[in-house]
Amino acid sequence: MKQVTTNEILKIEKLKKYFHIGKNKQGPIYVKAVDGVDFNIKYGETLGLVGESGSGKSTIAYTVVGMYRPTSGQILFKGKNIGIEASKRPLPTKKEIQIVFQDPGSSLNPRQTVEQILALPFRIHTQIPKKQFREKMVELLEKVELSPDYLYKSPPSIGGGEKQMVAVARAIASEPLLIILDEPTSALDVSVQAKIINKLIELQNEMNLSYLFITHDLSLMRNVANRIAIMYLGKICEIADAVTFFKKPLHPYTQMLISSVPVITEEEENLKPKKVISTGEIPSPVNIPIGCSFHLRCPYKMPICSKVDPEMIEVSPGHTVRCHLFPKPGNK
C-alpha cells in the first residue's frame, strides 16, 4: 500500500504568477493567473488540484516544472527553492520533477518514433550506455503494458490511450520523485481513463512517486487523491483530505462544484449538497472582483465579502478554508 510520510517533497509559499498583457492610463495590465497560493505535497502523496478553466491550475503546473518563472513566492523542492526557469535549474532537480500533459497528440512529436521519444530522457538524465537503451525501453513499455513493437510506431498511428501511456513511460524514464499530471485523462473516454488511472496508482506504489494531479473532474479525485485543493481565480479556497472533502464541504464554491457533478447512483445523489445551485460564470482574471473573488456567485454573500479578501483558516486539522463564513478563532 501507499506510504504517505510527513516529510514534504514540495512546498509552495505565496506563489504568484502575473502575465503582462498590455497597458492603459492606469498602468500595466496583468492577468493574475496565480495570486498567492500555498500548499504542500508529502512523499508518496497525491494532491488533487481542482478548478474550472481559467482558475490558474495549469499555470501552477508549468511554474513548478520551470516553464514559467514565478512573479513572486517560493517553490521549495526537498527544502530548496527552485523558483527559477528550468534552464537555470540543476540537472538532478529536473530529473526528479516530470510532467504528463493533457493532450498526448500534441505533447509527443508526431515525426519521431516511440523509440526516439523514450531515448531522450535516458540520454539526458541517466548514465546508461547507449547499447542498453533498447533493453531499458522494452522494460519501460512493459511497465505501462505496451508490447515492444510500439518502439517502431509513431504517435499518429497509435490510439489516444496508448499515446498517453507512452507519455507516462517518458515521464517515469528518468526515475523521478514528483510527477505533475496536467489533466492526463480528460481527453479520453471513461473506460480508457480507468485503465490509465489504475496504471498510475500502480506505478506510484511501485516507485513511491508523489503526484500533483490537476483536473476538473471531482469524482475522479475522490478515488485517486489523498488530499484535494480547490482553486478559484488564482487562489485556493479549500484544502482537505479526500474523504472529509465530500462529507463536509465548507466553502460555498466547493459545495457548488460538488452539486454540479453528474452522478450515476442514488448513494452519490445523497452526498450532494442540495441548497447550492450554480449561478453565474467565472470572471476574467484581468478584473478580479474586489474582496472575496467568489462573492459575485456566492449564495451566502455578506456585506464584508465585497470589501475584504478572506484569509486561509484552519477549521480542523488538515482542513483549511478561505471564507468569511468561518471567522478566525478569537476574532468574532
Partner: protein, 329 residues
C-alpha cells in the same frame, strides 16, 4: 412525465458507410432508435461510436458524396427522411427538427451579430412567414434570449459571438433552436466543451425548456451522469450498434449487456470505492469490423456464436431491449 404513445421518430436498421481511400468505413451497423412525442432520450457511448453520425443522418447534414447508406430507414412522423426531396428536407430542418452542436464557438457564424443570426431563424421559420418586419423579429429575439436567462438581451443582439463567453454562446445556440416551435431537438453534447458548473446550468435550462414546450429531445452525451439526470430513456451505443436501451432507473441498477456493465464500472463515483480495471482492448477498426457482435473481441463472456452473426435487439421487458446472446439463451 408526459410520454404519449405517438411515435415521432423511428430509425430502423440504419447502416451508414463513409467512403475513404482504403475502402468503406462501416460506421453505423444497424441502429434502431425510437422517439415518442415529448420524450427525452439519451444516446450514450464513447468517442467514435457513431453518435454524432446518427444525429447528422436524421437531418441529412452529412458531407454530400462521402457517405453511403446501404440499408435502413429513418421515419419522421411516418415519412422516410432518406427519400425526401430537397424542399421537404429544408422544411424538416427549418420547422420540425432543431440541432444544438457540441462547440458553440464553431456553431455560430463569427462575422454576423447574434441579432442577425436569431433574426434569420425566425424569418425563415413558419411562425413568422408573413411578418418580416424588423420590430417583430427583434421583439421575438429578445423574448427567446430572455427565456434562456441571458442578461441584457438588447446588448447581446448587437454583439458578435467572440464577445460572449462559452456558456453564453451555448445559451444563444439554445435560443436559436427554440426561436421557432420545434417538435424534436437534437442536442449533440451541449455541455461537453463547458465547465462543470456551466454544464449544470445549461442542462437545467435545456431540461426546463423541453418540459415547458413539451418537445422531444435526443441528448447525445458521453457522460452517463448527465444522461441519468436528464432523460426518460437511454440508448447505449457501441461501435455503430445500439447494445442496450432502458429507463435510467433500470439501466443503472441492473445493466445487462457486458459493455454497459464495463462502462458503468469505469465511471468514478463521488462516494469513493476506487476505480475498476476499465474495458480491455479498444474500439475496433471500422474498415474491417469484427464479424458478428462488434463487442465480441473485448467481451469476457464471448462464445463461438458471438463471432458468427450479430445479435439482434431482443425485448426482455417493455421498453428494455438488449442486443446480446447472453439474454436470449
Amino acid at each position: 412525465m408526459k410520454t404519449k404513445e405517438n411515435i415521432l421518430l423511428d430509425i430502423k436498421d440504419l447502416h451508414l458507410w463513409y467512403r475513404v481511400y482504403d475502402g468503406y468505413l462501416k460506421v453505423l451497423n444497424g441502429v434502431h432508435l425510437m422517439v415518442r412525442e415529448g420524450e427525452r432520450i439519451g444516446l450514450v457511448g464513447e468517442a467514435g461510436c457513431g453518435k454524432t453520425t446518427t444525429m447528422k443522418s436524421i437531418l441529412q447534414i452529412l458531407p454530400p458524396g462521402d457517405f453511403h447508406i446501404p440499408q435502413g430507414q429513418i421515419f419522421y412522423k411516418g415519412q422516410d427522411v432518406l427519400k425526401m426531396s430537397y424542399k421537404e428536407l429544408q422544411r424538416l430542418r427549418s420547422r420540425e427538427i432543431a440541432m444544438i452542436f457540441q462547440d458553440p464557438t464553431a456553431a455560430l457564424n463569427p462575422v454576423f451579430t447574434i441579432g442577425t443570426q436569431i433574426g434569420d431563424v425566425i424569418k425563415y421559420s413558419s411562425a413568422f412567414e408573413e411578418n418580416e418586419h424588423k420590430e417583430i423579429i427583434k421583439e421575438q429575439s429578445i423574448k427567446v434570449l430572455k427565456e434562456v436567462y441571458l442578461p441584457d438581451p438588447e446588448r447581446i443582439l448587437i454583439n458578435y459571438p467572440f464577445q460572449l463567453s462559452g456558456g453564453m454562446k451555448q445559451r444563444v445556440c439554445i435560443a436559436l433552436c427554440i426561436s421557432s416551435p420545434r417538435n424534436l431537438i437534437l442536442a449533440d453534447e451541449p455541455g461537453t466543451s463547458l465547465d462543470v458548473t456551466i454544464q449544470d446550468q445549461i442542462m437545467r435550462l435545456l431540461n426546463g425548456i423541453v418540459r415547458k414546450r413539451n418537445a422531444a429531445i435526443i441528448l447525445v452525451t458521453h457522460s452517463l451522469g448527465v444522461a441519468r439526470e436528464m432523460t426518460d430513456r437511454i440508448y447505449v451505443m457501441y461501435a455503430g450498434t445500439i447494445v442496450e436501451t432502458a429507463t435510467p432507473e433500470v439501466l443503472f441498477k441492473n445493466p445487462v449487456h457486458p459493455y454497459t456493465k464495463g462502462l458503468l464500472a469505469s465511471v468514478p463515483k463521488i462516494s469513493g470505492g476506487g476505480i475498476t480495471k476499465g474495458i480491455p482492448g479498444k474500439l475496433p477498426s471500422y474498415l474491417n469490423p469484427p464479424s458478428g457482435c462488434r463487442f465480441q473481441p473485448r467481451c469476457e463472456q464471448a462464445s463461438p456464436i458471438c463471432s458468427e452473426k450479430p445479435p439482434q435487439l431482443f425485448e426482455i421487458e417493455k421498453d428494455r431491449l438488449v442486443a446480446c446472446y447472453l439474454t436470449q439463451r
